[in-house]
């Protein structure tokens, strides 16, 4: 049952990295550039993980977790996308960049569920706050602290739920789509691989609060491109 172990190991990473997003630490191990290679390393293919991290990192980097805003769950997309690519690669016999792209294209829409689960966890935390208020009126400070820590469990459950949605629906979708899409993806993969960071970069350029951002971007692009071209 090696695949079951892989699913479980990736679930563990999904929970730990998911907690890092909001509830605990925030060392940014939840960023795709970290979470995906770590998942790949644990599942025995760090290069696939690094590839996923490169593709996904810029996509939602410009979406800031400010106030009550909940950005899309790129952590679970990175973890589950990597796990899917490695596990389904072994199952279906397709591997490499086209399989990684297929898994990401499947995982990304499914990752929208993460925002819903995160919102549910935060709503449930409101109930914990009510309980904490009551406990404090009764002079039970230790209970108040326990209610706070229960929030970690709720956020962990939200991360796990998102991971399970992506992995379960993703496994079926990749299984069904791979035979039809892999030849096309093999053909188009260099261009789709380029589209990911370009779209991500465009979103950052479009939303970053810097005057002359287009000028700075263009100047840097032209300078580096000319340098590479005339080498």
């Amino acid at each position: 049952m090696p695949f079951v172990a892989d699913y479980l190991f990736a679930a563990g990473i999904a929970i730990l990295a998911g907690l890092d997003r909001t509830a605990a630490m925030q060392f940014m191990v939840s960023r795709p550039i970290v979470a995906a290679p770590v998942t790949g390393f644990v599942l025995g293919d760090p290069w696939s993980g690094l590839q996923v991290g490169i593709l996904i990192e810029l996509m939602w980097l410009g979406r800031l977790p400010v106030g009550a805003a909940i950005p899309p769950d790129d952590t679970q997309i990175a973890v589950a996308g990597t796990a899917l690519a490695i596990i389904m690669g072994s199952w279906t016999g397709f591997s490499g960049l086209p399989m990684i792209l297929l898994c990401l294209l499947v995982s990304m829409p499914l990752g929208k569920a993460g925002q819903g689960f995160d919102r549910l966890a935060r709503k449930a935390n409101g109930w914990l706050l009510e309980r904490a208020d009551a406990a404090l009126l009764g002079g039970r400070l230790a209970s108040v602290e326990r209610f706070h820590l229960l929030g970690v469990v709720l956020f962990a459950a939200a991360s796990l739920a998102t991971y399970l949605v992506i992995m379960s629906a993703g496994t079926v979708a990749v299984w069904q789509l791979a035979p039809f899409l892999m030849p096309l993806l093999t053909e188009a993969s260099p261009w789709i691989q380029l589209a990911f960071p370009l779209v991500g970069a465009a979103m950052i350029i479009g939303t970053i609060n810097v005057s002359r951002s287009v000028v700075l971007f263009s100047a840097s692009f032209v300078a580096v491109f000319l340098l590479l071209w005339h080498q």
Binding site: T22, Q26, F27, M28, V29, R31, I33, V34, P46, G53, I54, E57, M59, W60, L61, P65, V66, G67, L101, M108, R122, N125, G126, L129, A132, L136, L137, G139, L141, V144, E145, F147, H148, L149, A188, W191, I192, F196, P197, L198, V199, A201, A202, I205, G206, N209, V210, V214, L216, F217, S218, A219, S220, F221, V222, A223, V224, F225, L228, W229
Partner: protein
Amino acid sequence: MKLSSGKLPPWILMRVLLRSFLLQASWNFERMQSLGVLYVLAPALRVFYRDEDLVLACQRHLTYFNTHPFLASPILGTTLALEEKRSRNEAAGSIDVDEFKAMIMAPYAAMGDAFFWGGIRPLAACVALYIALQGALWAPVVFLVLFNVPHLAFRIGGLVGGYTQGVRLTQVIQRFRLPDLAIRCKEGTVIFLGGLCASLVFKCLQGEKVWSGWGFTAIPVVVLLGWLGRKGVSNLILILIFSGILLLLAR
């Protein structure tokens, strides 16, 4: 009932520091980080107060609170200093702890969001991506180091500094000019992104044996996509449309 007459023991301050990493564990829409603030401060409040005074102090901190999680540390450190004064009845003439928290949390939230989320994080990610594109597996380590050095400096230094210096720490933090630093980081990010995109486009064209001059068309494409993003078009939609078109062309 007043209890403490000395400084907080270092191990209590250490417990407060460790707990600050769980500040947002019970983040909720009603009062956001309020329960987290009480959880972080609880070990110290237990030293400062007993019985009804302890309950009253806890209730003071169970009110609405929301700021950037890393810049919460200097606020909470200063809060400890103010609570300590209050517990010793030395607070006369100094700012009230509730007033201080209410006054400072919004500006610190704005500064922290701009500096950490909008400045340092994208810049560190771009540097790490550049390294990752060379095939280096240690790129994530670079990202973590670049991000966490200022992060931990603010978390640890902010809490200890806030407790030892009290409200004077706000002047120290002001001297860092975080909003200006954030702008510099953002400009660095945009420049890095330009170089990163140029490398990717050039590599792709070379690999596909397409004339390199076509690479310059990537600039208007990125600008157009950025404009669409600003108008609210989701990047998920954009990448799905892009991929769909490319798959159709590959048929």
